[in-house]
């Protein structure tokens, strides 16, 4: 089960996912990048069924780009998150996507994090997580988070979270991908 978590700092939004892909009792890969970049200021960190994750991720990314091509207006993070929610909410009753997402982004409203689940529940948060990993990581995020985290403090927190999941979670999650969005764009840590 995919671990996805993230939080908001002073001038950045950070998201992290594990890299594992499982099939029945086998681990196919541990180098999968589950964080998709949409435009140059939004990160979609996704967890869930792999086919749905790839399909839905690309579908949303391309539709958001199409909107920019058609209208010349770039969607900000809140708008992109609400659009994604409406697609999920439509799909849940017609052909559900089993994808849970965290959308991290930076726009004129500053850094932000949006939590979305496969049913179409949307919530703006300062810190959030999906999957079994959420049970391990939520406590750490609540305890060590403070408003206006610097990037170094943020990275320390991420290391603590990753360490916790690797130590205590039943499934071995060797690698993690961590990406941040700042006003200067997207970076891999």
């Amino acid at each position: 089960m995919d671990t996805v978590f993230g939080f908001v700092g002073k001038d950045f939004a950070l998201v992290a996912t594990d890299c594992g892909v499982a099939y029945s009792i086998m681990r196919f890969s541990d180098t999968e990048d589950k964080i998709m970049a949409v435009d140059d200021n939004k990160l979609f960190a996704m967890g869930g069924e792999i086919g749905d994750r790839l399909n839905f991720g690309e579908y949303i990314q391309k539709n958001i780009h199409l909107y920019t091509f058609r209208t010349g207006i770039k969607l900000n993070v809140r708008e992109a998150a609400n659009y994604t929610r409406s697609e999920l909410a439509y799909a849940i009753r017609n052909g559900p996507y089993q994808v849970n997402l965290l959308i991290g982004g930076f726009d004129e409203e500053g850094p932000s994090l949006y939590w979305l689940d496969y049913l179409g529940t949307l919530q703006k948060l300062t810190r959030g997580a999906h999957g079994y990993g959420a049970y391990f990581v939520s406590g750490l995020l609540d305890n060590w988070f403070k408003p206006d985290l610097t990037l170094d403090e943020g990275i320390e927190l991420v290391k603590k979270c990753i360490n916790e999941v690797q130590t205590r979670f039943l499934m071995s999650q060797k690698n993690f991908v961590v990406k941040i969005v700042t006003k200067d764009g997207i970076r891999v840590i």
Binding site: R85, L88, D117, L119, G120, G128
Partner: protein, 203 residues
């Protein structure tokens, strides 16, 4: 576990003297896990109409958006504001439109029609109950009933109504594991809408 209990919540509404108050908790959860302590469950539809929703969070968001959409279209077509009693019927018919694939919500509509308070509550497929005094919804519903019965009387003045609803909400949601984490009370009088946020032990 019932689909209505997945995200959790508690909504309570009560009539006063030419005023009306509706309060809700702020928790969004996934069964036992709390995800957010800032989830909006009461929506301002019009100056004199408020819609409170309990039940599945995604349907709370979708349904409130659908009602706002219908209300806006009504305003554009008819060029006039919607009466609260008309909105009550609109909610009921919208819910029944989805009779065979319902929204998993428990709505409470609250409004002031020419100064007279209006409260209505529904099941998920649109059975309207126009209550005389108060209404409850959500996982904490049953727990809120007892407190409502105790504290309700005819013609409560506005300032007291806010206090009462606040106390009812706090005490009721304290006893429900799936509701709580703060509260918000909306007081609607003929002059204005007053929003008060409640601090709980774990806000």
């Amino acid at each position: 576990m019932s689909i209505f209990d997945y995200n959790g919540g508690g909504i309570v509404a009560m009539k006063g003297k030419n005023c009306i108050a509706i309060g809700a908790d702020r928790r969004l959860g996934q069964q036992m896990k709390t995800v957010s302590t800032n989830f909006k469950k009461i929506f301002r539809m019009q100056d004199n109409i408020l819609l409170g929703l309990g039940g599945l969070a995604t349907d709370i968001e979708t349904f409130s958006a659908e009602m706002e959409y219908k209300l806006n279209l009504y305003n554009l077509r008819e060029n006039r504001k919607l009466k609260p009693t008309a909105f009550v019927s609109l909610v009921s018919s919208t819910l029944y439109e989805h009779r065979w694939g319902p929204y998993f919500v428990s709505p409470i509509v609250v409004g002031l029609q020419d100064g007279t308070p209006v409260i209505s509550t529904y099941d998920s497929i649109g059975c309207t109950t126009d209550t005389e005094n108060f209404a409850v919804a959500g996982t904490a519903g049953e727990l809120l009933y007892g407190l409502c019965e105790t504290y309700y009387r005819e013609d409560i003045p506005a300032e007291e109504l806010v206090e009462i609803i606040g106390q009812i909400l706090l005490a009721g949601c304290d006893r429900d594991a799936l509701a709580g984490w703060g509260g918000v009370v909306y007081l609607l009088t003929t002059d204005n809408l007053h929003i008060r946020e409640l601090k709980t032990k774990q806000t």
